[in-house]
């Protein structure tokens, strides 16, 4: 499987990293007491590598912040129903439903997800996809396997939507706790239960629009 990393936009990553400063509100303070992870939210990052072989919990939705769970939301757009709009800055994927609404899914965005914006189409779909980490990833994380068959411990997760003409994909994960964050590798990840849901709603040929934060 062709999977090459594009040169990372350094400015973009720096900016994203800087976004992660703590949010001082009653909300995050209260949450910090119950969970040791940093607050999610606008532009949060998490420094975590892939963990091949680690199985995602069966009920992986429980580990997501309610804000990042699939939910219908108000969404005004001129794009046709069925279009996917990915907003990397706020870590959401919208499936346009028309009539000013969309289904919103929380995502984790890997570094590959920050390098490109524009319009593509879903070229191929796969259940429990295999994974062949590219050389660049092996270099960064030497412990990664050279090939891994699809399954519960696979970082690609339960489903993948391959975006035509690019190395990008929307996939599941075996690390549900990374939803809502920028993570160190991969493209756009959803928890398995939600990528399964999205997979069932999106046909091959669907339009996918990727939006990045504006640059200064």
């Amino acid at each position: 499987m062709a999977f090459t990393l594009k040169i990372l936009s350094r400015t973009m990553l720096l900016r994203v990293g800087a976004f992660a400063f703590g949010a001082l509100t009653f909300g995050s303070i209260a949450m910090a007491q119950s969970t040791p992870v940093p607050p999610r939210g606008m532009g949060a990052t998490m420094d975590i590598g892939d963990q091949p072989g680690r199985e995602a919990p069966a009920d992986d939705e429980v580990s997501i912040d309610p804000a990042y769970r699939r939910q219908p939301v108000y969404f005004r757009t001129t794009e046709a129903p069925g279009t996917i709009i990915i907003s990397t800055n706020d870590r959401f994927l919208y499936l346009v439903e028309g009539n000013n609404r969309a289904l919103r899914y929380g995502i984790g965005v890997g570094r590959d997800g920050f390098t490109w914006q524009g319009l593509v189409k879903v070229e191929r779909k796969a259940e429990w996809p295999d994974w062949t980490p590219p050389a660049e990833m092996i270099q960064r994380q030497p412990y990664l396997p050279r090939f891994m068959a699809g399954g519960p411990g696979n970082p690609m997760g339960a489903r993948a939507l391959y975006l035509g003409g690019t190395v990008y994909r929307i996939h599941g994960t075996n690390q549900p706790e990374t939803i809502g964050y920028a993570v160190s590798s991969g493209c756009f990840r959803l928890v398995n239960s939600e990528i399964i849901d999205l997979y069932s709603r999106v046909p091959v040929g669907a339009k996918v629009i990727v939006r990045q934060a504006v640059t200064l």
């Binding site: 400063f21 001082l24 909300g27 939210g41 606008m42 219908p72 939301v73 609404r101 200064l216």
Partner: protein, 337 residues
Amino acid sequence: MKTFLALVAGAAVALAAHGASAQTLKTVKDRGTLNCGVSRGLPGFSAPDAKGVWTGFDVDYCRAIAAAVFDDPSKVTFFPLSADERFPALQKGQIDVLSRNSTWTVEREAGLGLLFSAITYYDGQGFLVPTKRNIVSALELDGSKVCVQSGTTAMGYTQDFFTANTMKLELVTVPNTDELVKAYEDGRCNTLTTDVSQLYALRLVMKKPSDHIVVPDVISKEPLGPVVRQGDDQWFNIVKWTHYAMLNAEELGVTTANLAEGLKSQKPDVKRLLGQEGAYGEQLGLTKDFAARIVKAVGNYGEVYERNVGTGSRLAIPRGINQLWSLGGIQYAPPFR
């Protein structure tokens, strides 16, 4: 005679208030602190924390104005006000600005001599239902038993909405918000209705918040924003452009974290916003860099939203209609040029 005296006294008060209000900026500067009216405690919008420090979405607007005037967001005196007290406090000049989840209506501008500066938060009546009902649109609520607080406008709106869409409605009225949650959790109704921001706050106190979902439809208009007195255009503009500075900052990608980088930006839009080009701040009566001061103090609009009521808070209210116009919402600010 009594009436006449009262009239004279009333006119004198009105004149005094008007005289003072025409120079609000000067008054604020001379006093050294902004007098800002807020609620008496509404999680996410304005509430004192454990140390007595006021925080929230509405509070951040007080702090943003203070930052614009003094370059110091702590120079605010907060006036917690009840619903009855809020407008008289502004009319009498006790406060310089009211930032207290107040709905912009024609009555309040035409009848009370006030001006709403901008819509900082689009609220409106919505519905909360058990997730397992699998409802994604308010048009699927036919036959619902709806809990509503008695004596609120929500009762009428609910009836109108169900009638207009030929849906059957069973209304269950309760006296207050505590009862609202109790009635819903006891199963006396299968739908709960009030303003969307409050639905999220009520969901927090439920036994298992994730078992309930707020339907995205909004059936009434509750535009909220900071209020000033009529008769002081300069002050009105300052409050208005404080909000627009925050929205433009978000649209241009200027955040608390990258402000230093933003000040060196070569993009004309960013330079104008942050005062590196033009003198709009000075023309407003402030300093060139007033927008930079605001961002430094509270962040851009998105940061203020997410921190107080969005993904960074326990309320976790989706941006929805309050998203930027370019990203699926209707928040739209005139440009800095």
